[in-house]
């Protein structure tokens, strides 16, 4: 009887030590769930969700402090992906945080720009090039279209230009649309 208790207690202590050691040895740095959520978010860093960028929003979702439908640039598809990842029901986008817009790039009217550097300080991805009293310009390839440079501009010289569809950006459409067109032609 006593031997059995001692054996059981010994096993318990051994397993406990092993678990304790591995908890220290294999400790996961950071929050892996937040990483996964951050990978889904579009990285516009626009702050429309009410957080200071994509990463803080991802962390808030991971902690359960924020809903999954606050990201307009991610759109319905982003919400669906987040729902899949977190195993919850997808819900419609929260319109109070803005509606999805076509992808755009900021454009600085160089005639009007006074070189105040306020937009440079606002840009979350350093996509504006310029210096004090020098003309500024957008590095279009790096602009995420977050619109954060619009409010600080004192002369309103920045506009958002939607990315036009050209040959390199053209996509095949879902064929169902084409089927409808054919039937329309035939009835006409």
């Amino acid at each position: 009887m006593l031997a059995a208790i001692l054996v059981m207690a010994g096993i318990a202590v051994a397993i406990g030590l092993a678990l304790g050691w591995s908890a220290i040895r294999f400790k996961v740095e950071g929050n892996p769930l937040a990483e996964k959520i951050d990978a889904i978010l579009p990285q516009t860093q626009c702050g429309q969700c009410g957080f200071l960028g994509c990463r803080p929003y991802a962390e808030a979702i991971a902690k359960g402090e924020a809903d999954i439908n606050l990201c307009p640039p991610g759109g319905e598809e982003g919400v669906k992906k987040l729902a899949d990842l977190l195993g919850v029901e997808p819900k419609p986008l929260d319109e109070t945080h803005g509606a999805p817009k076509p992808k755009s790039v900021a454009f600085i009217d160089e005639q009007t720009c006074i070189g105040c550097t306020l937009c440079i300080q606002a840009c979350p991805v350093d996509a504006i090039s310029g210096a004090a009293k020098q003309m500024h310009t957008i590095i279009a390839a790096e602009c995420t279209g977050c619109e954060l440079c619009l409010p600080p501009c004192p002369v309103d010289c920045i506009t958002m230009v939607p990315i036009a569809e050209d040959l390199p950006h053209w996509k095949w459409k879902h064929p169902v649309v084409m089927l409808k067109q054919v039937s329309g032609d035939r009835s006409a």
């Binding site: 994509c54 350093d126 064929p175």
Partner: protein, 566 residues
């Protein structure tokens, strides 16, 4: 002749319709009034324009230079004046315009200076650059820049060179008539390929529905000084696909996601070999090609067409008929509908297929998939088209990729056999372009994340540096204050203390004196440099000014009158 042939899985055998156009001899299309030459005629980066509006260009002159490695130049197809460098409609299914150079031809068709290249004397790398600058691109359909394909690389070897004369698509006969009429030049091009790739085995695969082409190529091969094997392969669509041709001729399969060069095989179209021979032996850039104009026209035939000729010119030449319902570039299986007929012939244009309601009845409305798997039987890439369709339709692109969507060659066999008339290939194209867009977005998002994180790191660092600087300044100020205090204390104590304090004060004085001397020397060194060789007049003026300055300095040194003080 005793070569063992293999079979590829699947495939179909649609009505060939080749006899319509391959009986008539090749005719040169007349010089059009206006040529529109797109800068993006090949896979890779589009060419960069070299000419501007108003320039006179000669036939064969480079008007767009290759941009990067995977690119090719474009050339003026005839002499004339550049009238525009702008967006023009191009032969693309989207109907979107692209950057083109428009040339108003002057009718003189005046060649620029050109001559043969001695390809054996040139270093292979130089030769490839010359070929890139001569605008060579694969004429079989993919228009991949040929110079890149002619590079065997540092480690790769291409012991087997396959020349593809399959031309399996119905209606198209441009490769057939090319082989019939220009077999010798095709094989001269093959000789250059062999030289660049170091291939030891050369196979020309031709489908058995082109006996005249086979005979012409065999006769030409007998005249060559190296071994070329002309292999007749059974006609079955898509036997002219590069991967299928490799499988039929060698029994080997190109692994998924790899290139044929990974298994030591390179494939070129016969048209590319011909263009290569013209380029090397005559110095002619790729400015014309054979184009089959067939279908619903009066005289279906092949034309030798200058790149940039509008398609409607060719259709008019072949005899336009009433009841045209549309025009395809390419064949009925893989061809693309053209948005309008002003679009020019490009390097990829092998066929202009005019459609009518009788020849190409409109497809009935698509019905639901009944999962009969006829498409899977027909698929030459051994995929599961019905599953791919399901995933593409549902937008489940990840699963589609797991089912090897990117091994699909878009041959159209599945759509051809589908009893429900589902445009299956359109779904695969849709899925592929969605996946490419997503990958592009993902790369953009990764870049944005990286830049945002770096910005935060930089701001943090700047803050820290500023704080450190401030702290250092405060520390220095405190130290100075402390020093002053001790000095004052020392001064007070000096009369009493004696030896140590004066020596320290002397050292300090010496330091100050040295600094003053240094400053004086610097000032002397920085004398104005334009004071040598002055005329006496100028010298006098300078002296006057100096005297005035001295006087002002003297005045400034005098104490102000008390009543002038504010």
């Amino acid at each position: 002749m005793s070569r063992e042939l293999f079979k590829f899985k699947g495939g179909v055998h649609p009505p060939e319709h080749k006899a319509e156009s391959n009986a008539r001899p090749v005719r040169a299309a007349p010089l059009p009034k206006k040529l529109v030459i797109p800068l993006r005629q090949h896979i890779g980066s589009p060419a960069k324009p070299l000419v501007s509006v108003g320039d006179r260009v000669l036939k064969g002159q480079m008007i767009g230079e290759a941009d990067g490695t995977i690119s090719a130049a474009v050339h003026a197809s005839s002499s004339g004046i550049v009238t525009a460098v702008d967006l023009q409609p191009v032969p693309h299914v989207s109907g979107l315009p692209d950057l083109c150079i428009s040339i108003e031809t002057d009718g003189r068709d005046e060649w620029m200076e050109h001559g043969p290249l001695d390809y054996r004397a040139l270093a292979p790398a130089d030769l490839r650059i010359r070929l890139r600058d001569l605008g060579l691109a694969g004429l079989g359909g993919a228009v991949f820049p040929s110079a890149v394909k002619l590079d065997p690389g540092a480690t790769q070897h291409c012991p087997t060179l396959i020349i593809n004369g399959g031309e399996c698509e119905p209606w198209i006969t441009c490769d057939d008539v090319l082989m019939r009429s220009r077999a010798d030049e095709i094989l001269q091009g093959v000789a250059i390929m062999r030289h660049l790739l170091g291939s030891t085995e050369i196979l020309v695969g031709i489908e058995d529905n082109k006996p005249e082409a086979v005979a012409a190529m065999q006769a030409a091969a007998a005249r060559m000084d190296f071994a070329v094997e002309i292999v007749v392969v059974p006609a079955r669509y898509p036997g002219g696909g590069a991967k299928q041709m490799i499988q039929v001729l060698t029994g080997r399969e190109v692994p998924s996601g790899k290139l044929s060069t990974d298994i030591g095989i390179q494939v070129f179209n016969v048209g590319t070999a011909y263009a290569l021979a013209r380029a090397v032996h005559h110095g002619e850039p790729l400015i014309s090609r054979l184009v089959t104009v067939t279908g619903h026209v009066l005289r279906p035939q092949n034309f030798e067409v200058l790149i940039g000729t509008p398609m409607h010119v060719l259709i008019a030449l072949a005899g336009e008929r009433d009841g045209t319902t549309g025009v395809l570039m390419g064949g009925p299986m893989m061809g693309m509908p053209m948005p309008n007929l002003d679009v020019p012939v490009v390097k990829a244009t092998n066929c202009i297929l005019v459609q009518s309601a009788e020849l190409f009845p409109p497809l009935p409305k698509a019905l639901p998939c009944i999962r009969c798997t006829r498409c899977a039987d027909a698929c030459p890439a051994e995929l599961q088209p019905q599953e791919l369709f399901r995933f593409a339709k549902a937008g489940d692109f990840g699963r589609a990729q797991e089912y090897h969507l990117f091994d699909c060659i878009e041959c159209g066999c599945c759509s051809y056999v589908c009893p429900s008339h589902i445009p299956l290939v359109d779904f695969y194209r849709y899925a592929k372009s969605e996946i490419w867009t997503r990958e592009k977005d993902k790369r953009a998002a990764d870049l944005a994340r990286e830049r945002h994180e770096f910005r935060q790191f930089r701001q943090e660092r700047e803050k820290k540096e500023k704080a450190e600087k401030l702290a250092a300044k405060a520390q220095a100020a405190r130290a100075q204050a402390a020093l002053d205090q001790t000095q004052r204390a020392e001064l007070a104590a000096a009369p009493a203390a004696g030896a140590a304090a004066p020596s320290e004060a002397d050292a300090k004085k010496a330091l100050i004196a040295a600094a003053l001397a240094r400053a004086q020397a610097k000032k002397a060194g920085a004398a104005p440099k334009n004071t040598d060789h002055l005329s006496p007049g100028t010298q006098r003026e300078i002296e006057e000014i100096e005297a005035r300055r001295a006087k002002i300095r003297e005045l400034a040194r005098q104490p102000l009158e008390p009543d002038e003080k504010p």
